[in-house]
Symmetry: C2
Subunit: 318 residues, 2 copies
DNA sequence: GTGTGTAATGTTAGCGATAACGGCAGAGGG
DNA sequence: CCCTCTGCCGTTATCGCTAACATTACACAC
């Protein structure tokens, strides 16, 4: 018991005893068994984080935000990856909950009914991240992808573009990309416009795909004057291709992506984009989990971050 | 006990009882407590993975390999990030071991003495990854960064370049980058050459930094005819800058990076690079952990993967 | 000397599962 | 009819720790 007290810095132990305990622990190479500790104390210093992928730049960045915020709270993130599969998500969630984590951070607000039920009954704070368009289980931190798309459409139309194409991923389970597209179309519709052409891809290096798709769509619809990409990577590929071809960007053709990945600072032109507040989302989500018992938060917060349009060099200025 | 048997598919239970148990579990939303299970069975289905960073593209890729390989082994990776700090690594490792994972995968073979002691006494398979230049604790999976640097130097010299500069990160704790540089210098020395100039950076977007550094080093040493970058991202930045400047690549100036990130497929030219076998390293490491008790492996394997030089379009061909 | 308060340490009873074994019923062989 | 075997399910004792309470030691006031 005294050992337990020393190793947890809890309760009164004389300095002399404390020293002796630490010394002995060092000599023996003793590492306390958290499993037993957690079982006894009903406290687990783990936070489950469930994301669709690690290949998409965005999620490691969110993770970085989470890690940073959790840094000195004694909490530790445990990551699960779903590959955009709802069934996998359900399985991963079940697995995580069976470890009775102190909280769960999960990407998106679309889940299988079973997954949703688990989240509701988890008995710990749940934060759904990335997306606020819909009804969350507990807390939600993210941006409105619908409005992000809508605002981008407005900005593009305001800049005078009229024949607009969309290039994106062929992923029915990527609800956020879908919502951006819907919002975008809504934004166009408000000005009496609609998408002239679309092109979808799946798999492969995004940069290379961006090139290919851009070539394909422009060959099919040469009169397009703007291309909206569902992410910055394919947008960057498109931009590079256009520059190769000597296309006048943004005069003859405008381009925009989404995410605001700073990885791409340093391209010949700055691609128009919209910051998805990824790191900030991670931080805020972690903050909610970490602070919940102490700061009077009782759950159900919806924190909507406001993505900022950066027109960069690929949209005509007024 | 019968419930336990049903939920673990272990031992004999009649079909009728099994159905009843599953039904009841569903109705109650019962999620077994793995903490208690792990304590009782002394088995934990977690694998600790300790990496320096998530911002560096490379590590998410390794993680992807690990996840994929662990997919249907019932094992789950738990990620810890050290930010290249040996002390943080020690702390993260301690934290992980206190959960008694089934194995540990840790980047690098340089650790604090305490961390090394923990790894040696962990009593579970340990795989040190990325780097084979040195003495590992148990198993090691990686490439020789020293030889990677050396081979690149040989290839560059063979291509006829003579005035060679190096651009890299200012990170004393990035042992792999250091070893590549050392190997590179060794390779140059073998031909009686040495580095003409070097330039280091830290922080910021790698692409943009690559541009800056390239400009800086070429201004200072305009007669350089080759630039070796410590990673592909800054190399790509450098390449874009050179193209902007109308510099003849690879005629007047050759460029090479390291990692072989396929993210960059789609640049105007393919940067010369060397595949670091990231995903493969993840797979093999996970395979060792997953297979250990079953496949007769007893630990101590050293698996050295052979990175392949891809000369791309930024090194003169003979 | 006795009572009281405080600091330091010890005892006991779980936490929720599983390992290991025990018991019982019914089948089948002799 | 007895015995063994197998299939199924229950009992008991941990696993290594911590919460809660108990005890001891000692200082100090009266």
């Amino acid at each position: 018991m005294t050992v337990s007290r020393v190793l947890r810095n809890r309760g009164d132990v004389s300095e002399a005893t404390r020293e002796k305990v630490l010394e002995a622990a060092r000599v023996l190479g003793y590492v306390p068994n958290k499993i037993a500790g957690a079982l006894a104390s009903q406290r687990v210093n783990l936070v489950g984080v469930i994301i669709p992928s690690l290949s998409n730049l965005v999620f490691p960045e969110v993770l970085t935000g989470i890690s940073a915020e959790l840094e000195d709270t004694g909490l530790q993130p445990v990551v699960g990856v779903t590959n955009y599969s709802p069934e996998k998500e359900e399985a991963v969630l079940y697995e995580m909950l069976s470890w009775r984590p102190s909280g769960v951070i999960i990407a998106g607000i679309e889940h299988t009914p079973a997954a949703r039920a688990m989240l509701e009954n988890a008995g710990v704070p749940v934060v759904e991240i990335m997306d606020v368009d819909g009804e969350g289980v507990d807390s939600v931190v993210g941006i409105s992808h619908r409005r992000a798309g809508l605002h981008m459409a407005e900005a593009i139309v305001a800049a005078g573009y009229r024949k607009i194409g969309f290039l994106g991923t062929k992923m029915p389970e990527d609800h956020r990309a879908r919502k951006r597209l819907e919002g975008f179309q809504e934004g166009l519709a408000a000005s009496g416009l609609e998408l002239v052409d679309t092109e979808f891809y799946s798999g492969g290096s995004a940069l290379a795909k961006g090139r290919e798709m851009t070539q394909t769509i422009l060959k099919r619809s040469p009169d397009l004057d703007f291309l909206y990409y569902s992410n910055d990577m394919i947008g960057a590929g498109g931009l590079l291709w256009c520059l190769d071809q000597g296309i006048d960007v943004p005069g003859r053709l405008g381009l925009a992506g989404f995410n605001g990945v700073d990885l791409l600072d340093g391209l010949p032109r700055r691609l128009a984009t919209m910051d998805a507040c990824r790191r900030e989302i991670g931080r805020k989500a972690a903050e909610i989990i970490a602070g919940r018992p102490h700061n009077g938060l009782i759950g159900g917060e919806v924190i909507e971050l406001e993505p900022v349009i950066q027109l960069g060099d690929t949209v005509r200025r007024a």
